[in-house]
């Protein structure tokens, strides 16, 4: 159903797009229209069909039925390269450029200016520099791309895509690893590109960003089109309703009143703990039944704090005590022996072992602690994994499925299960809700509260300040790799945390 008045001309028109994988409908008769000069948010929970839509349009997978028109002419790209030639460029969440090549080489890979078959390096660099200046980016293009931040890498990827004469730019979760400031820069560039008449499809999980930047929203659910709306005419609650098909019991609703009992001895306590050039020495007390949240911008030292507490990096100053006894945390193994668990932010590279089954992933930490010579019997493994699959509602409830085939939210639950199986005293969760669909968000938060009530000490890192404000007993604000302030009890609310983070903006350029 075309609800939009056709004020701008339709740049990309998709009608009746259908795609099945092994008999399962991933996309079912989906229509989608992108007008030139608009930023169009494509939303839906994990598995709604967003990425299949993108892949079918860009020829990464072949569609079963449906028509894709670009500027009125039907196109049928057979691979991403043909899509780029047609004018549709895609930038994925994981930047797929080559970190070991220079920025300039990345920008012009496959189309370097040459003379007599030799690459004209100088010319390429000058072109690269001027291209990036157009994006407000003044960096040395002769340095390997991998030495720049993820944000810069993203901008380079976008610059390359746009420079390949793109008229349609697809951004798949471009902001997932950017901090607030970098997101603003990206949005500025998106608006600038839209102003030039480029149509932008923007896939994201962050509703705030949808409202901040998009003109129009298309929502998919279970492979079907739910609807297309103008962003300004769609209240947030209605949007969530479209995505979930049910009222989300607003996670931000109530901050329950809990009496914070600081009198008891902390479960784990750190004094002057730190590592040079990594994170400044900090004091931290973690109590059973309490959630301590670390808040701050990306790179402020949140993850660094978690890693040093867990022994993934070795502290070079300070002391640590667990249950009143002095300890040396020299490795993750040691931390696990002390009853710590850590769900890292980089779920794919540091969390899951993708090709092992859900069962093997769940029992991995328990098995590692028992040592290689005392294997868990198959029955014990089945019991443990079965228990947690049921407890955490992991789907599909098939312990033998390779974990790589599960959705992000379910992978996160498996990682939680891995640590819960070790019966930990302290659980460190680094961005537990990142890259997870909205429905699973609420579930993970409910779990955090439950674990806390069960008497676990929790250290949570999250960029979702609204969520943090709901469940945290204490919020430690970090800036420039140092712990700056601690808010506790009633002092925790979104404006207070945000203003503390934003206060005294770091004057390091």
């Amino acid at each position: 159903m075309d609800s939009g008045s056709k004020q701008a001309h339709a740049l990309l028109e998709v009608t009746g797009l259908t795609k099945s994988f092994l008999g399962q409908r991933a996309l079912d008769d989906v229509d989608f229209t992108l007008r030139s000069g608009e930023i169009h948010a494509l939303l839906g929970e994990n598995g709604a069909g967003k990425s299949t839509l993108i892949k079918a349009v860009t020829g990464v997978v072949q569609r079963d039925a449906g028509i894709v028109r670009l500027d009125g002419a039907g196109i049928m790209p057979r691979n991403a390269e043909e899509a780029v030639k047609a004018g549709i460029a895609t930038v994925y969440q994981e930047v797929n450029l080559l970190p070991n090549l220079t920025v300039a080489e990345n920008l012009y890979l496959g189309r370097q200016p040459t003379r007599f078959g030799l690459v004209r390096d100088g010319q390429m660099r000058r072109a690269a520099a001027s291209l990036l200046r157009g994006f407000g980016l003044s960096i040395d293009v002769g340095i390997p791309l991998g030495e720049y931040s993820v944000a810069v890498q993203h901008l380079v990827a976008i610059a390359r895509a746009v420079d390949l004469s793109a008229r349609v730019l697809i951004l798949d979760e471009p902001t997932a690893s950017l901090d607030a400031h970098e997101v603003e820069i990206l949005f500025g560039i998106m608006r600038q590109l839209a102003g030039r008449g480029i149509g932008i499809i923007f896939v994201t999980h962050f509703l705030d960003q949808v409202y901040a930047v998009s003109d129009r929203i298309t929502v998919l659910r279970n492979g079907r089109l739910v609807g297309e709306r103008e962003t300004s005419a769609l209240p947030r609650l209605d949007l969530v309703h479209m995505m979930l098909g049910r009222e989300l019991s607003e996670v931000t609703a109530d901050r329950e009143q809990r009496i914070v009992d600081d009198s008891g001895a902390p479960y784990a306590s750190f004094r002057g703990f730190g590592k040079r050039r990594y994170v400044a020495p900090f004091d931290l007390d973690l109590r059973r039944g309490q959630v301590v949240a670390l808040a701050g911008l990306l790179g402020s030292g949140r993850t660094e704090t978690a890693r040093i507490v867990f022994g993934a990096e070795r502290a070079d100053s300070g002391t640590a005590e667990v249950a009143g006894k002095g300890v040396h945390i020299t490795s993750p193994r040691e931390a696990i022996r002390l009853g710590f668990g850590y769900c890292p932010e980089e779920r794919k590279t540091e969390g899951i072992v993708a090709e092992l089954s859900v069962r093997e992933n769940i029992v991995l930490a328990v098995q590692a602690r028992r040592g290689w010579s005392r294997p868990l019997s198959r029955r014990e493994q089945d019991e443990i994994s079965g228990h947690f699959i049921k407890l955490l509602d992991i789907r599909p409830a098939d312990p033998e499925r390779p974990i790589g085939l599960l959705s992000g939210g379910n992978q996160q639950k498996v990682l939680l299960a891995r640590w819960l199986a070790t019966k930990p005293g302290l659980l460190i969760l680094d961005e537990p809700t990142r890259g997870i669909d909205v429905g699973a968000h609420a579930e993970i938060i409910r779990l955090i509260r439950q674990l806390c009530a069960d008497g676990l000490a929790l250290l949570v890192i999250s960029s979702e300040i609204e969520e943090v404000a709901v469940y945290a007993d204490e919020v430690v604000v970090l800036r420039d790799r140092a712990h700056v302030t601690t808010l506790s009890g009633d002092a925790i609310n979104v404006p207070a945390v945000l203003s503390t983070i934003a206060a005294e903006t770091p004057h390091v350029a």
Binding site: L22, F310, A312, P332, R333, I336, Y342, P344, T349, E350, G351, I352, V353, A354, E355, L356, E360, L364, A365, Q367, A368, R369, R370, G371, W372, S373, R374, P375, L376, R418
Partner: protein, 328 residues
């Protein structure tokens, strides 16, 4: 027990059977067995007997490859172990000579493991060191000569038999069972798979990844030294220049034919040994057929391509695509 093809190893089993069948076609007596001096003889027995060294190597190699590593030094370790056993056996006791040979294998494995797991040198470079140096060490031990020995006990490892089964085959079978017991009877197998598939995640899950890695290289060194002893016993002497030469490549090939990815992770010990037998069955077949042995290399390549194609996920996807077109 009804016979059914296991889901995982079907391509390898079918390939092995097909090659045996082809061998039977070029040599009608291929499946003939005869008992002589209490030991089985025949072309089929030869396949197992001649395949024993590479099968032994593949037992260790499969673990190393599963950790996302590779061990190029196995052939050189064979030469060292053979040299040690041959040069000690006539002056010292047989157990001491054997113990020294196997001990040297373990030491070589420790060295490789140390370079890879502790110093974090890329496996292919780290083991290249011993591949080159190891043969030199073996030549130093033998002082550049072929050291012969007379000990019948040591010779038994090459020519003896247990219950009619040639000693190399029996030893390989024993090592196979030992390896299976070691990796699947304990948790070592899954820890190796986790380490190979995602070392960072494994470390954060509390796995001592460096210990796991070293264990794999040590086992590989031990298996290589057993293979070295067999190779020396077979010719009643240690030839430092040729013992185990290029066998590291056959061992890697055997592991790959067995379906274990060079990117680490899931592995199958049994299928790796089957891979080694596939290679040997081809060798034997070509020798029996009377073609020039040089042809062996070409045929080997063809079979490798065939097995790998059967395992290729792309090809499976293609099959699905064909089916889809048919059903619509």
């Amino acid at each position: 027990m009804p016979f059914r093809l296991p889901k995982q190893g079907a391509p390898q089993i079918l390939a092995f059977l097909a090659i045996l069948l082809a061998d039977r076609l070029v040599s009608p007596q291929f499946f003939d067995l005869r008992l002589q001096d209490g030991r089985l003889f025949g072309s089929l027995v030869d396949v197992f007997n001649r395949g024993a060294p590479v099968a032994l190597l593949s037992l260790g190699m499969v673990l190393v490859i599963a950790t996302r590593g590779i061990d190029l030094s196995v052939g050189a370790v064979m030469a060292i172990a053979g040299a040690v056993a041959a040069s000690l056996v006539d002056t010292h006791s047989v157990p001491l000579a054997l113990g020294a040979a196997l001990g040297v294998g373990v030491l070589c494995g420790l060295w490789n493991g140390f370079l890879v797991a502790v110093l974090r040198i890329q496996p292919i470079v780290a083991t290249l060191i011993l591949m080159v140096a190891g043969r030199g060490i073996a030549q130093l031990i033998t002082e550049g000569r072929i050291v012969t020995f007379t000990s019948p006990q040591l010779a038994w490892f090459g020519n003896g038999s247990i219950l009619g089964i040639p000693a190399p085959v029996a030893i390989t079978l024993g090592m196979l069972l030992l390896t299976l017991f070691l990796v699947r009877g304990s948790a070592l197998g899954v820890l190796i798979e986790a380490t190979g598939a995602n070392a960072r995640a494994s470390e954060l899950a509390g796995i001592g990844t460096w210990a796991v890695t070293i264990a794999a290289y040590v086992w590989c060194g031990l298996c290589s030294s057993v293979a070295g002893v067999i190779a020396a016993a077979d010719i009643l002497g240690a030839d430092a220049n040729n013992a185990g030469l290029w066998l590291e490549l056959d061992a890697i090939l055997a592991v790959v034919i067995g379906g274990t990815s060079l990117f680490g992770g899931r592995f199958s010990v049994i299928l790796a040994v089957l891979g080694a037998l596939i290679i040997q069955a081809m060798n034997t077949g070509i020798l029996l057929s009377g073609y020039r042995p040089e042809l062996n290399l070409v045929v080997k390549a063809v079979v490798v391509i065939a097995v790998l194609l059967l395992q290729s996920p792309r090809l499976a996807g293609l099959g699905h695509w064909f089916n889809r077109n048919r059903t619509i």
